[in-house]
Every structure is written in structure tokens, then in C-alpha cells.
């Protein structure tokens, strides 16, 4: 077993052990923090497919995080008010069912990514970064001026949505849902990376012309990867909104795109558990350093500089070494 596989196991068990300890010690706040780690890690796992496997520096993943959030907010608010979402041509009512909300979040994010990706992937480099950012900002300003769903104030949901057989208001049970989804996403990503599609994506990142010469269209491979990446980030957005029972235009903000990217870089770009390690470190710093100074992000910036300059494989690369990377 490689050092990275052992480290991945330690990270996975650590993320499970902390909330279990908090549950036993009756520390619900710590469980909520661990749930945030799992959700942000899920968003990072999504971004890591585009960024790590595909080399697509998307600075607009907040768009999908926000779409997932609003999918939850809109469906739950209609269920809350007993007003149908749409009456004609078909009756569509709101729902409190988490699986249905997740499905809508994933489909909506994927469709948005199909449109955004189809346009932005015709460019590369700084233009790709700017176009993805521009789409996210467009959605941000759209939701601000969307009074039906709270406009700038956002939407509050009074009760957490439901999952069959579980009490989602119990922090440890909600954590279990998020943790299980994170593990499923990690398993899926690991399989994807080793599949012919994942290899073609990695090859396209290394040299697009060479990939074309073996009969693969890099544009299509990248677009599919971008859509999958967005779907996972959208799912994370729905869970994040459910955690807070609140959704607002801030979920579309450029700082959210930045935060997801920062936690991927901190943990290790293209490393399977990089986003998990990065999210854990991010939340830890936010709470430990945030308690000392309100300018804690200065220290985060210094840490990020250190990682970029001296530890290109991020936290996972620093501990597990660089041999397993495909970057």
C-alpha cells in the first residue's frame, strides 16, 4: 500500500473520528464544523476533477455551488409555503425530500455547466478563468435582483429537509449523510481518474495536440469533465444550504470560488484526498486563528504562499511525497 493510500485512510478516519468524539462529548458545534469540512471537501472534489485532472482553472465554481444552494432553497421554500413552484403546463410542487433536492441540484448544475463550459472551453488560460468568473458573477447579480426568492437577503428555511429513515436535525445524522456522499464522490473520482476517460482527460491536460492525434477530441473530454465537476459542486451547494438552512446570493460570490480553489491547492491539486485535507485545514484555521484575530486570512494567505512556493503537492504531497502525482 502506498504512503498516499495510508494517508488517505488516516484522513478519512480522522474526519469520521472527530464528530464521533464530539457526539460522545456532547459538542454539537464540532460536529457542525466537521459537516462543513465534508461539504466543502465535496465541493473541492468536484473542482479537483476540472482543475486537477483536466487542468481547467475554473474561477467560477461558485456558480454551481450557488445553483445547488438555490435548488434546495427554492424547492424547500415552496414546500414550506405550500405554494406550487409551477401550475402550468405541469404542476410542480416544492419538496423537503433531500434525495429529490440533490437530484435537482445535480441536474441544474450540470446543465448550467454544459452551457458555461461549451462557451468557456473554446478559450484557455486567463480567458477561461475570466469567462468562468464572469458567469458566476452574472448569476450573483441575477439572484440579488430576484425578489421572488429573497433578493439580496436570501431565503431562510425553517426546517432541515428530510432523508428517509434519518433525523436530519440531529447533527451527527446529518454529518453521516454528508460524509457518506463525500466518500461516494471520492470513490467515483478515483475510478474516473483511472478510466480511459480520466486518462484521456489527463493526457489532454499534458498535450492537447497529441491527444487529437490519437483520435480524442480534447474539447469534448474537457466539457464532460467540467459538467461532472460542476454536478458534484452543485450537490455540495445543496448540502451547504441545508446545513445553514439558508441560501443567499453570497453563495455565488467570487470569494466562494476562491475558497474552493484555495482548499484544493492547500490539500493538493490532483490528489484524491487533497480537497478533504484542504477543507479540514481551512476550517481549522478559520476557527483557531479566527478566534485570535479577525484578520486570520492574512495567515491563510501566507500559508497558501508557502504551499505554492515550497509544497506544490499541497498538504498531501508534503506528507505522501510526489511520486503518485499525475500533474
Amino acid at each position: 500500500m502506498s504512503r498516499e493510500a495510508v494517508l488517505n485512510g488516516v484522513i478519512a478516519l480522522g474526519l469520521l473520528a472527530v464528530p464521533l468524539w464530539a457526539w460522545a462529548a456532547d459538542e454539537p458545534f464540532v460536529i457542525t464544523l466537521a459537516t462543513r469540512v465534508a461539504i466543502l471537501a465535496l465541493a473541492g472534489v468536484g473542482l479537483n476533477i476540472a482543475l486537477g485532472l483536466g487542468g481547467l482553472v475554473s474561477f467560477g465554481h461558485a456558480a454551481f455551488f450557488g445553483i445547488g444552494g438555490y435548488a434546495m432553497g427554492i424547492l424547500a421554500s415552496h414546500a414550506q409555503s405550500y405554494e406550487p413552484l409551477m401550475e402550468w403546463p405541469v404542476l410542480i410542487e416544492g419538496t423537503r425530500s433531500m434525495p429529490v433536492i440533490w437530484l435537482v441540484a445535480v441536474v441544474a448544475s450540470a446543465l448550467a455547466a454544459l452551457v458555461i463550459g461549451a462557451l468557456s472551453l473554446r478559450t484557455s488560460g486567463v480567458y477561461f478563468i475570466m469567462i468562468t468568473l464572469a458567469f458566476a458573477q452574472m448569476l450573483y447579480y441575477f439572484t440579488i435582483s430576484w425578489p421572488a426568492y429573497g433578493g439580496e437577503d436570501g431565503l431562510s428555511i425553517y426546517l432541515r429537509n428530510s432523508f428517509p429513515g434519518l433525523n436530519t436535525l440531529d447533527p451527527i445524522q446529518f454529518f453521516a449523510i454528508c460524509y457518506a456522499i463525500l466518500l461516494a464522490a471520492l470513490f467515483f473520482t478515483a475510478r474516473l481518474a483511472k478510466s480511459p476517460f480520466g486518462l484521456a482527460l489527463a493526457a489532454a491536460r499534458q498535450n492537447a495536440a497529441r491527444v487529437e492525434a490519437v483520435g480524442i477530441r480534447p474539447y469534448r473530454v474537457r466539457l464532460v469533465a467540467f459538467v461532472i465537476s460542476a454536478a458534484l459542486t452543485g450537490l455540495a451547494g445543496a448540502l451547504f444550504a441545508d446545513l445553514n438552512r439558508f441560501v443567499s446570493p453570497a453563495m455565488f460570490g467570487w470569494n466562494i470560488s476562491g475558497e474552493i480553489m484555495v482548499l484544493v491547492i492547500l490539500g493538493g491539486v490532483a490528489r484524491l484526498f487533497g480537497p478533504v485535507a484542504g477543507a479540514a485545514l481551512f476550517i481549522l484555521l478559520e476557527n483557531v486563528l479566527g478566534g485570535i484575530s479577525e484578520y486570520w486570512q492574512v495567515f491563510l494567505g501566507l500559508l497558501l504562499l508557502g504551499v505554492v512556493l515550497f509544497a506544490r503537492g499541497g498538504l498531501v504531497g508534503l506528507i505522501a511525497g510526489r511520486e503518485a502525482t499525475h500533474d
Binding site: Q206, I216, R217
Partner: protein, 229 residues
């Protein structure tokens, strides 16, 4: 109908004309040596066939179908396998991953490539960047074969390799010729090996086809004039 047919092909790099009228035909199961001094248009012709370089005039037909307007990935899917000059594997994928990334359904699969190049078998899990030049060349050929081509283009496949490795590559090309129905275009400077392996030769000079025929007709005058040998 030839497998590949180039007729009066002209091509440019920006404002500079590189091909002035290339004619070339390759039949199924035939090995054609594309020869000429440096800068005469051999690699440019290969790039034009793969649609990595647009052509200005003339036609390129694969199985009778004009492929001028097709993107390079479509040409590859139609059965054109390229082994580019300078090897050019995917350096940060393993040997196995390099082969799987290119795999298309057909007779060529991983075990068959490993049988053709046994030296690759123990290196399956090794990053391509860490292979020797000869192993990288074998991998580049193997990757092209994994696309299950009908036409294989080998651009300077033995350049810069140790003599013993060059012999392995030539032996592999001979096996491809005898065991498959592949059409093969070989660009190389080793006239001695080309005479052994190729069925015919085509000489390019200043971007034009100036001679084509069997090696029994390739006399000293031609070789000294066009190949500098």
C-alpha cells in the same frame, strides 16, 4: 483505390510555403519510405496527412474520401496512427496509462503491444518520462497501434537511438509488415534499413515529390543528389 493518396499538396507555415506539390500513394499492407534531406518537407507532409497542418491546394484522400476539411481527431479515428518525431509520449502517465488513453476497439490491445515490445512489459507502471529514449519510442509506436490504425505514420522513429535499440524498432516494423495489413509510411534517414523494410520509396526535395519507385531503381546519382548519401 489507394489507402492514402496525396495529390499536388501545398501547405504553408504562416506566410512561408513548405510544400509545393507533394504526391504520395500508399496501398494497404505496403511500406513506403518517405525520404529526403533535412527541411525538404517530410515531417510537414506527415503533419498535413494528420491534419495538424492545413493544406492550401491539392487533395488528401483516405480510402477515397477527401479528408482536407476534417479535424485531426477525426482523421485519427478513420484509422491514421501517428508516431510523431521526438517520441512525445504523455510524460506524466504510466506506460499502461499511455496505452489505455489511446485505446480504441480492434485487434491491437495491451498484451499484443507488450508482445511486440517485450521491453515495455516490466515498465507498465512506470511514468513515461522516466523511460529511456528507446522505450519511449516503443511506447509511442505502441500508443499509435492501440488506436487500431489502418495506416501508420512513423516520423523519424529511430532518430537519436542506440544502434541496438534501432535494430529492435526496425525488427518491430518488419513484424508489423509481415503480420498485419497495415499501410506504413516511414520517414527515416537510414537508407540501408529502409531498403530492407520498405516496398517503395518516395523522395521529397524542396517540398515536391521528385522521385518515387522501387529501391532497385534508386541509383547512386539519385541518392547523392537528393539524399546526400
Amino acid at each position: 483505390m489507394s489507402l492514402l493518396e496525396l495529390s499536388a499538396v501545398t501547405a504553408f507555415y504562416g506566410p512561408s510555403q513548405a510544400l509545393f506539390g507533394v504526391d504520395l500513394a500508399v496501398e494497404e499492407g505496403e511500406v513506403v519510405a518517405l525520404m529526403g534531406r533535412n527541411g525538404m518537407g517530410k515531417t510537414t507532409t506527415i503533419r498535413a496527412i494528420c491534419r495538424l497542418l492545413p493544406i492550401r491546394e491539392g487533395s488528401i484522400r483516405l480510402d477515397g474520401r477527401d479528408i482536407r476539411a476534417l479535424p485531426s481527431f477525426r482523421v485519427a479515428r478513420m484509422g491514421v496512427g501517428l508516431v510523431p518525431e521526438g517520441r512525445r509520449c504523455f510524460p506524466n502517465l504510466t506506460v499502461e496509462e499511455n496505452l489505455l488513453a489511446a485505446a480504441r476497439p480492434g485487434e491491437w490491445d495491451m498484451p499484443r503491444v507488450m508482445r511486440l515490445f517485450p521491453a515495455l512489459a516490466p515498465r507498465r507502471g512506470q511514468m513515461a518520462a522516466s523511460l529511456s529514449g528507446g522505450e519511449q519510442q516503443m511506447l509511442a509506436i505502441g500508443r499509435a497501434l492501440m488506436t487500431n490504425p489502418r495506416l501508420l505514420l512513423l516520423d523519424e522513429a529511430t532518430e537519436g537511438l542506440a544502434p541496438v535499440v534501432r535494430q529492435e524498432i526496425w525488427a518491430a516494423i518488419s513484424r508489423l509488415k509481415s503480420e498485419t495489413g497495415l499501410g506504413i509510411v516511414v520517414v527515416d534517414k537510414s537508407l540501408r534499413e529502409l531498403r530492407t523494410v520498405a516496398d517503395r520509396g518516395v523522395i521529397l526535395a524542396r517540398g515536391r515529390t521528385v522521385w518515387e519507385g522501387g529501391f532497385d531503381r534508386l541509383d547512386e546519382d539519385l541518392t547523392s543528389r537528393y539524399l546526400g548519401v
